[in-house]
């Protein structure tokens, strides 16, 4: 085990008690994520990819195994504001302007007023939303809202960014554009990113490490280290290397299904 693992899961188990009996959401999940990694979690619905991300965020508590984030328990990490979290929907507060929404975590965490202003301006630049500070969320398109929610997660400069299907609700063209921007942002900020998706091209295009998961019980079936270079224009998706990795992911997903 290397010591610079930012997220370290060992034999993680999570069982939900429901009315129809216990549901094995996660079984025996082990994974190391290193600083600066871009890790995608991919798999069919019910494979536990979102649940795993929520465990890392301390929003769910594992029932077995160990999990550490920045060397702390997920709950401590949450209290130390170790990560920014981006949800499936932008979830911006309609009563706050875009600027106000991005300022929200800063207010809660008690940043100084002047510091708040500079940080809001910085991250709005980062996600290309300059000039929209005074607008309200409902006045923006879906893609812009999601960008604002990413800016909100970046505002307090945690070195981990957790994203739960952030572009799932957007159309293909907007999604491509945001994927490109996300890579540029990652290259500039050097954050560790955990990214849940159910799109194979998206996972392959973005990640340095692809975690293939499968359901009943939710578990990891394959971990693929991407051979693609860090610099990735959109048309890299037509190269043989890209198609090769996509194949492996698809095979992994299929293998997981054959167990049923």
């Amino acid at each position: 085990m290397t010591s610079n693992a930012v997220i370290q899961a060992k034999n993680l188990d999570l069982t939900f008690q429901t009315n129809d009996g216990p549901v094995h959401a996660l079984k025996d999940v082990s994974l190391d994520v290193e600083a600066g990694d871009f890790v995608s979690f991919i798999g069919p619905s019910g494979c536990g990819k979102t649940t795993f991300l929520r465990c890392i965020a301390g929003l769910e508590n594992a029932t077995g195994g160990t999990l550490s984030v920045n060397g702390m328990t997920p709950d401590e990490a949450r209290r130390n504001r170790a990560y920014g979290y981006v949800f499936q929907a932008a979830g911006l507060y309609p009563w706050r302007t875009i600027g106000g929404n991005i300022r929200l975590p800063l207010e809660i965490m008690g940043y100084a007023k002047s510091d708040q202003e500079t940080r809001v301006r910085e991250v709005m630049d980062l996600v290309d939303l300059k000039g929209f500070e005074k607008k309200y969320p409902w006045q923006l398109s879906g893609g812009m809202q999601q960008r604002a929610s990413i800016a909100r997660a970046l505002a307090f400069d945690a070195d981990i960014l957790l994203m739960d299907e952030p572009f799932g609700a957007l159309d293909e063209i907007v999604r491509d554009h945001l994927n490109e921007q996300l890579l540029a942002l990652w290259a500039r900020t050097n954050k560790t990113i955990g990214f849940v998706t159910h799109s194979i091209p998206e996972a392959v295009y973005l990640s340095t490490k692809i975690v293939v998961m499968s359901p009943r019980p939710g578990r990891i079936t394959d971990v693929i280290d991407s051979p693609l270079p860090k610099e990735r224009p959109l048309d890299i998706r037509d190269t043989p290397e890209f198609i090769e990795v996509a194949h492996r992911v698809r095979d992994g997903l299929r293998a997981g299904h054959l167990d049923d």
Binding site: R81, Y85, G91, W95, I108
Partner: protein, 281 residues
């Protein structure tokens, strides 16, 4: 009889005009939207006037609008005194006390899940009861003056306001609450930043319902005893003297006060919850 005939013709003409306006291409313009109900209202007033005069309806059954207006004009000081007694002293003070205390209790109930689960069904139950019936008791306790009217209003507005506020504080989505948890936000931070703003549409719903209840409570409570001033007092004594024009004058004042009160709260709501889909239009 000619007057009645005239009323009939006027009614048909106005209705025809409204049908034409409503089905014309202009029906979405602001002017027509206001104009159509206005024409309808004015027509009713004129028809009322003509029919009452034409059939010589006795004053003690239905006075014509013109006489009601004349009565309002000649009784301004009395009407004003009644308004101050019933609306400003009784309804308004009770409204403020009732709404504020319901709000505080709702925040407390929201803090403790057990209390919330107990208070919400009980509050809903009580809100459906004829609370106005407590008026004779409260008049007995607090005396004939405005204090007892304010007390009736407090009891009447408390439960609708409580139920709405508690329901509103529950109005956040799981995702919004998770977001607050990822920030490690304290109870107060998430109350002030998330749950209270999200509850505002509900809170204002409670405030709006309460405006009407407050006026009803203050007026009806006066039927159970009051000093010799107040809208409810004036209505019940004028009814006794068969001075129906005075009764109608008080009703006009009550209607104006009620609408204005509601309008003010609705205007504040528009400012506070401008972000809500129902306000964005």
């Amino acid at each position: 009889m000619t007057l009645v005939l005239l009323a009939l013709i006027l009614w048909i003409a106005a209705w025809w005009l409204n049908v034409r306006l409503a089905n014309s291409g202009l029906s979405h313009t602001q002017a027509v939207r206001f104009g159509v109900p206005l024409i309808f209202g004015l027509t009713i007033l004129v028809v009322w006037e003509l029919v009452v005069r034409g059939l010589a309806v006795p004053l003690v059954i239905l006075p014509p609008p013109s006489q009601i207006v004349a009565r309002i004009a000649s009784e301004v000081p009395t009407l004003w005194a009644d308004f101050v007694q019933t609306f400003v002293k009784g309804a308004l003070s009770g409204y403020v006390i009732g709404c504020v205390s319901a709000f505080v209790v709702a925040i407390l109930a929201d803090r403790f899940d057990f209390l919330r689960r107990g208070l919400l069904p009980v509050g809903n139950f009580i809100a459906a009861l004829p609370i106005i019936g407590t008026a004779p008791i409260l008049v007995m306790w607090f005396g004939f003056d405005w204090q007892s009217k304010a007390a009736v209003v407090v009891v009447m507005v408390f439960f609708p306001m409580l139920v709405n506020t508690v329901a509103g504080l529950q109005e956040t989505t799981a995702m919004q609450r998770d977001l607050m948890r990822t920030y490690g936000a304290s109870y107060w931070a998430s109350l002030m930043k998330l749950r209270l703003p999200a509850a505002m549409p509900f809170i204002f719903n409670g405030l709006k319902i309460s405006t009407t209840l407050a006026l009803i409570g203050a007026i009806v409570a006066e039927f159970f005893g009051s000093p010799i001033v107040g809208m409810g007092f004036r209505i019940s004594t004028s009814v006794g003297q068969l001075a129906l024009d005075m009764v109608w004058a008080e009703i006009v004042v009550a209607a104006l006060a009620g609408s204005a009160f509601y309008g003010v709260v609705a205007a504040i709501e528009k400012g506070v919850t401008f972000w809500h889909p129902s306000q964005r239009g």
